[in-house]
Amino acid sequence: MSFISINNLTFKYNRKGYVIDDLSLDIEKGEFVCILGHNGSGKSTLAKLIVGLLEPRKGHIYVNGLDINEEKDGVMNIDLVRKDMGIVFQNPDSQFVGITVKDDIAFGLENRRVSTEEMIDAVNKYSEKVGMKDFLDRNPEELSGGEKQRVAIAGILAMNTELIIFDEATSMLDPKGVREIIALIKKLKGQKTIISITHNLDEANFADRVIVLNKGKITLDGKPEDVFKQFDKLKEAGLDILNNMKLIDKINNSNIDECNKKVIEDALWELSFPK
């Protein structure tokens, strides 16, 4: 069985229509998957279902072969597999649990009863990685949205989970910050299983696999080079990137210097997926 196996998953909030509609998906250990989709297509909902924060109406989610919504001998399976899963949420404000940056990065480790020395090492190491080393004693009130996102990423990296889900983890960063963090995420490729909900072309192109979500269904699933050729289906999923893709192609084949290329590409990509 795959590391994560989702069978005929169906979910809706209250009376509204289905947000996740009979969705099936297998993700192998070590895979780097990017999920694309327009606003409200159900990406965040899917992520919350996978980490067991929401309970499916129908269908099953297996992690490491365990159905996360079942219990065995009075222990919920989700409690057993939670140590394998970490998620960086979309909104950096309300996932900041600690009073200071240091406390927040350590929060997940404290729950696992990691020793103090190890925690201090981990906090130093991962705050350094996300460029927040000098902010360890700051309160969340004294941080920008992008800085809070960096802290959240450090907190998840420190937990060293097998699966990491990034839900638009770079949405509040400036272009330079996005590049730094994406570079960091890229480095995890091969070492960890990554599910990244993203609007970043660079990252999606780098992934092993791109999944396009539309109205709670998977409409495209495959290697990035294959997915990005399916202009009709992309357009149908609300990702109107046809013209922009053509433009990007043109730019890539022109003799503009690398730096400018990057800026234009980023801008075009943002145009295709307005936030």
Partner: protein, 332 residues
């Protein structure tokens, strides 16, 4: 935008008090407060106060800042003390250089009218006065009383009611006053020198040895820390809402009762929705990171007692023993 609202009044001067373990500070503060309440001798209380202020000086906290923190409560203290002095009529009337501190007042239509005019002027001017409202009110109060003392001709409404200062009354009100000031000084000493994070760790640390109630305490400590973390955020949110509503034409400055209710509702409803949404997101984030309420957790901030803590505890024990000894002897 002002996003630097930090809870508490912590000032870091890295003095010896700052370096004390928060547990030591909490325990010492708590027991000293009890000690102060045991003392019922004015001079001993005064001595304690002087001593506490010497300690404040050694904490290198600017004295002005320290005193300013009393500002919000000083009026309350002054008035309660005044009322106590007036209404506590036990013992004998105090005599100063042959004059009894006893005064007869008479309320007449004339001094009532003058008083009303003064009060009107006071309330009209109040809008333009930013500082020292309390002191001005006190002055107005005394002027009105003085009118009833001296300006007693004309048709009488209430004739010669008496206000006198009694020795027992004066003593008990001064006693209460001194106790309160002592308590304020002590708690100021704690809050000026301890970060809210450390306070929280300290509370948790104090209860850590009580294994049977550890579960409850760890949940309580988490609740305190979440509250400390979110109070500034919610203050920020409320200022945002105030501005947003103001830009939609809600007037928060003045208005009648009906308007006031509307203003409060237009702030409270969005605040409630925001808090609820934030709490939900936060609960998700905590759960996803493996937090299980009441479960044992390790801590990144480990508290360690140092030499200074030992001295403080030794001093605390001496302080309490002396007080209890003299209390039993009936001296203080």
């Amino acid at each position: 935008m002002n996003n630097k609202i930090v809870f508490g009044q912590y000032i870091n001067t890295n003095s010896w008090i700052h370096r004390l373990d928060p547990r030591t500070k909490l325990v010492t503060l708590f027991l000293m407060m009890i000690g102060v309440f045991l003392i019922s001798n004015l001079y001993v209380l005064l001595g304690c106060l002087v001593f506490f202020f010497v300690v404040v000086l050694t904490s290198k906290i600017p004295l002005i800042k320290f005193l300013q923190s009393f500002k919000t409560i000083v009026m309350l203290i002054v008035f309660t003390t005044l009322f106590q002095i007036i209404f506590n009529r036990n013992g004998n009337i105090i005599e100063v250089k042959g004059y009894l501190l006893s005064f007869d007042f008479t309320l007449t239509w004339i001094n009532l009218a003058i008083s009303i005019v003064i009060l009107l002027i006071y309330f009209l001017l109040m809008r333009y006065i930013k500082k020292g409202k309390g002191i001005i009110f006190l002055i107005v109060f005394f002027v009105i009383m003085f009118l009833q003392y001296k300006l007693t001709f004309g048709p009488v409404i209430v004739s010669s009611y008496n206000i006198a200062v009694f020795d027992v009354g004066l003593k008990t009100s001064l006693l209460v006053l001194l106790r309160i000031v002592n308590l304020l000084t002590l708690s100021g000493l704690l809050t000026f020198t301890t970060k809210s994070t450390d306070l929280n760790n300290g509370i948790e640390g104090i209860f850590a040895p009580f294994k049977f109630m550890r579960k409850g305490i760890s949940i309580l400590a988490m609740m305190i820390s979440i509250a400390l973390r979110f109070i500034p955020t919610l203050i920020n949110e409320s200022t945002k809402i105030l501005r947003a509503q103001a830009s939609r034409g809600v007037d928060f400055e003045d208005g009648r009762l009906k308007d006031k209710i509307f203003q409060i509702v237009s702030l409270l409803v969005p605040m409630f929705v925001i808090s609820y949404k934030k709490a939900e997101d936060l609960a998700n984030a905590m759960e996803a990171r493996g937090y299980i309420p009441g479960e044992e957790r390790s801590r990144i901030n480990v508290l360690k007692y140092k030499l200074g803590d030992l001295f403080t505890y030794v001093f605390l024990i001496i302080f309490l023993t002396v007080i209890i000894f003299f209390k039993i002897k009936g001296v203080i």
